[in-house]
């Protein structure tokens, strides 16, 4: 419970429209895009860095946890107030402070929506590269916290490769500026350390990002397969032939049906899998690579290789891909998305293993993922109303992640650890490594009030934590 005095101080600071604390309002802030939920005691809406500092000082005075929140689209429970306390919602710190095309930079507040950065420079020939599927809603602050990825990170890298400077507020209220518009500043790379720290060390109040030149030509290819093995083999073949697409996405048959029914993007309904491949760059190179991709796909048994003929056709294919999670909601009341990564050469056996897990548990598992970098997104469809479905889902998910670990991969490629996979961190990292992460957190947040219960194992078993949070009606999509 938030002490009454703390609430009073926050209300005084932010005014009656600067916070929410009625249960019916708080309900909207108890979940994100993942399956867990927990309710904060109060949600506050700062407008400035000074507001954030004042909020953090009040939280410190009363020993209250702080959880930062962007748009709440996260997929690992990163913005869920697991221990209650103050949720700092950045939706009103949503100004683009500076567009500096001459220096290929933009400076934005954390609540700016990802896609709005690119839209703000529309027509100038520049864009902001990281493109999470939720980019129409998710915020730059959330992207920085989770080190978000997206389909095109295959070529352009994830958020950390595009964030050059931060303004951050520590839990004791001190403000630091790290990095800047310039590159290679001497000293420790605090910007790199804090990007992806999942809100467990600081709150981010300003972000300097890199803008990139748009490529001259973009070509989008849809390769259609009667077997998902063949699609998986094509990914390896693309690497072997040294072709460098900017995105290689795979959708399996189950997913194709769901996506096509929802979006009518032109995906085949009878295929076992498709690859959505994008090539960008200098015209002559892209044109040659289109042919190379065609050959690679056909040599691996593609039934058909289609080239998007217009920008509209291309956008529709991507719309289908990026809205896929929404499409699942039409078919299954609840689903659970995994984010494991395997080396590229292990994609085919991993898909086979996921198929076996699906059979073993009697659950439909559909795959839609960033095949080019081995970032799997098996989606387990389940029904919370069916007894035992939930337990089976959790067990199946963990088996798949364990397989990814054993294959030399990771439990998360872009969604973050959050409160979803923190208990699995011990399978991936040694005690020494986890202890070092814990010490970094303690250095910034000695009282453990920044997003507590995330990233690092809490020592409790997974089921104990997840089961109540996954109760009937918990997940609504």
């Amino acid at each position: 419970m938030l002490p009454a005095k703390a609430k009073e101080k926050l209300a005084q600071l932010l005014g009656p429209r600067g916070y929410l604390d009625r249960p019916e309002d708080l309900i909207l802030y108890e979940y994100d895009g993942s399956v867990d939920k927990a309710r904060p005691d109060i949600v506050v809406f700062p407008r400035t860095t000074e507001d954030v500092v004042a909020i953090v000082r009040i939280a410190r005075e009363f020993g209250v946890p702080i959880v930062g929140r962007g748009a709440g689209t996260g997929l690992s429970g990163g913005s869920i107030a697991r221990a209650g306390g103050i949720t700092v919602a950045f939706s009103r710190m949503n100004r683009i402070l500076e567009i500096d095309l001459e220096n290929e930079r933009a400076v934005v507040q954390p609540g700016v929506v990802n896609l709005d950065v690119t839209l703000a420079v529309d027509g100038s020939g520049y864009f902001y590269a990281p493109d999470p599927s939720s980019q129409r809603a998710c915020t730059i602050g959330g992207n920085v916290s989770e080190n978000a990825g997206g389909p095109h990170t295959l070529a352009y890298g994830v958020t950390t490769n595009h964030v050059l400077g931060l303004e951050v507020v520590l839990p004791d209220g001190t403000v630091y500026t790290t990095g800047g518009k310039e590159l290679d500043l001497p000293g420790y790379d605090l910007t790199g350390l804090l990007t992806g720290s999942e809100g467990t060390m600081v709150l981010v109040t300003k972000v300097t990002v890199r803008l990139m030149r748009k490529p001259e030509l973009v070509k989008t290819i849809l390769a259609i397969y009667d077997s998902d093995d063949d699609a998986g083999r094509t990914v390896a073949e693309i690497t072997a032939r040294a072709i460098t697409p900017v995105a290689v996405e795979m959708l399996d048959g189950v997913m194709l049906k769901m996506v096509e029914q929802a979006t009518h993007a032109g995906y085949p309904l009878d295929a076992a899998a498709v690859l959505l491949i994008e090539l960008e760059g200098i015209r002559e190179v892209v044109e040659e690579q289109v042919e190379q991709i065609r050959e690679a796909a056909q040599s691996c048994g593609a039934r058909e290789v289609r080239l998007a003929k217009s920008a509209e056709e291309r956008e529709l294919l991507w719309k289908g891909r990026k809205n896929a999670f929404g499409a699942i909601g039409r078919v299954s009341p609840t689903y659970y998305v995994q984010d494991g990564v395997v080396p590229r050469t292990k994609i085919v056996p991993t898909l086979r293993f996921i198929g076996e897990v699906s059979k073993k548990y009697g659950l439909i598992i559909s795959n839609i993922f960033h095949a080019g970098d081995g970032n799997m997104h098996p989606i387990i469809l389940f029904d919370t109303r069916k007894a035992g479905d939930l337990e089976k889902t959790i067990a199946a998910g963990e088996e798949i992640l364990q397989y990814c670990i054993d294959a030399g991969g990771s439990i998360t490629g872009e969604h973050g650890v959050g409160m979803e996979k923190n208990e699995m961190m011990g399978h991936l990292f040694s005690a020494e490594t986890l202890d070092m992460m814990r010490r970094f957190k303690e250095l910034f947040d000695p009282d453990n009030r920044m997003n507590p219960g995330k990233v690092l194992p809490t020592g409790k078993g997974c089921l104990e934590i997840r089961q109540p949070a996954l109760g009937p009606g918990a997940a609504t999509y």
């Binding site: 001459e102 490769n161 500026t177 290679d184 790199g192 990007t195 690497t239 081995g374 990771s410 991936l428």
Partner: protein, 393 residues
């Protein structure tokens, strides 16, 4: 290469043969409160701050194994003491690359390149170690091996601690294992050298090229004094392009004006090697010389470059300028005026007999306080590479 007195002041190095031995050696020294001088091949011993004379000297130079390399995964894992040149040749066999282009590239170790965050011309497109490293193991003074990241190209599991090691000059822990992502070598490459009489025209050309449709993988700007060293005249804008032969042909038509020099094959490789190794060559020639590095915006680059009365080379598409002063006091004078103009600059290399009294990093900013706390966490007694981080840490 000239040996520095500072290096010879350190005891002869202990050479651990694997990550565990490295961790054990650090712990053995730290538990007895011995100060430690840590290095790879010591190729950059004149860079940044001198390590104060230490009780124990440690080198990763005997840790040279390739731990994992599956070319079809486009990843590789190597021990930190592996020479970059050996690594580069190994992956080149599969037409792959780690395009860091560091100076001292024949002798430098992978760990040393990361610790000093050195890079070169192709960073415009491919970035630095910050972008190419996907995982790391480092050994702490407590004798522990800590993992950051892994061997897959996309991974956000846990804190990205590897980032803090890049550019830390071995002041926190010892980099033991490095995992890189690999990039396929382009099918065709060519470089164009565009000479200009004035800096204004060179910058105007750079601006056009940066906004153009054929983005170079490297855009370096040599001022007349540095271009003369390489046998050219005037302000020289050097562009490196990659793609296929048709694309290169088009780039030649669009980017290479009539007076441009087109370099291909061995000639091209030789030119870029000279640019990449400009600093080592300069230091060999001028034992009293100092190298300044200034980080600036693309817009500031012209002003920064025009402020140098010495040889200078800029990564003109990234905003990094290197200036070569034959005497360290001239570098200090420049740095004082630069700091007054709010430019972010350091003395990157200085003569060994002067480094211990020069202000190598005059304006570190408030975040130095946070950096010192991180140092304190790793090394509470200040044992490891004391003074190496530009004499501030």
């Amino acid at each position: 290469m000239e040996k520095s007195s500072q290096v010879t002041l350190q005891p002869s190095p202990v050479l651990p043969r694997n990550p565990q031995e490295l961790a054990d050696a650090l712990a053995a020294a730290a538990t007895r409160n011995r100060t430690i001088a840590l290095a790879g091949a010591s190729s950059k011993h004149l860079m940044a701050g001198p390590v104060e004379p230490a009780d124990v000297s440690l080198s990763t130079a005997a840790m040279t194994r390739v731990l994992q390399y599956e070319p079809r995964d486009l990843t590789i894992s190597v021990e930190a003491g592996m020479r970059y040149a050996d690594l580069d040749r190994l992956v080149a066999q599969n037409r792959q690359m780690i395009p860091l282009d560091p100076p001292f590239s024949e002798t430098a170790t992978v760990g040393g390149i990361l610790a000093s965050n050195t890079s070169g011309p192709r960073r415009r497109l491919y970035g630095t170690a910050r972008d190419l490293v996907i995982g790391m193991k480092f050994a702490t003074l407590e004798g522990k091996l800590v993992q950051s990241g892994g061997t897959v190209v996309k991974n956000v599991a846990g804190l990205d601690m590897g980032k803090i090691m890049i550019g830390s000059f071995g002041t926190l822990a010892a980099i033991a294992v490095v995992n890189f992502k690999l990039i396929p070598r382009p099918a065709a490459e060519a470089s164009f050298l565009l000479p200009f009489d004035g800096l204004d025209q060179a910058i105007a050309a750079r601006n056009r090229i940066l906004k153009g449709q054929t983005p170079p993988i490297a855009i370096d700007l040599l001022n007349p004094l540095s271009s003369a060293q390489l046998g050219y005249k005037g302000h020289l804008l050097a562009l490196r392009l990659a793609g296929n032969t048709v694309a290169i042909e088009r780039c030649r038509r669009e980017l290479a004006a009539r007076d441009a020099l087109v370099l291909e094959g061995k000639e091209e490789a030789r030119f870029w090697k000279q640019v990449q190794e400009y600093t080592p060559h300069f230091l060999e020639k001028f034992s009293q010389g100092a190298v300044v590095r200034a980080s600036c915006t693309l817009a500031q680059l012209k002003e920064v470059m025009s402020s140098f009365e010495t040889a200078a080379i800029a990564r003109a598409g990234s905003g990094i300028c290197y200036a070569y002063f034959t005497r360290a006091d001239a570098a200090v004078r420049w740095l004082t005026s630069a700091t007054g103009r709010d430019w972010k600059a350091i003395i990157e290399f200085a003569p060994d007999d002067q480094r211990d009294r020069l202000d190598l990093w005059p304006a570190p900013g408030a975040e130095l306080e946070m950096m010192k706390k991180i140092k304190q966490m790793f090394d509470p007694n200040g044992l490891l590479n004391r003074g190496r981080l530009f004499r501030h840490i």
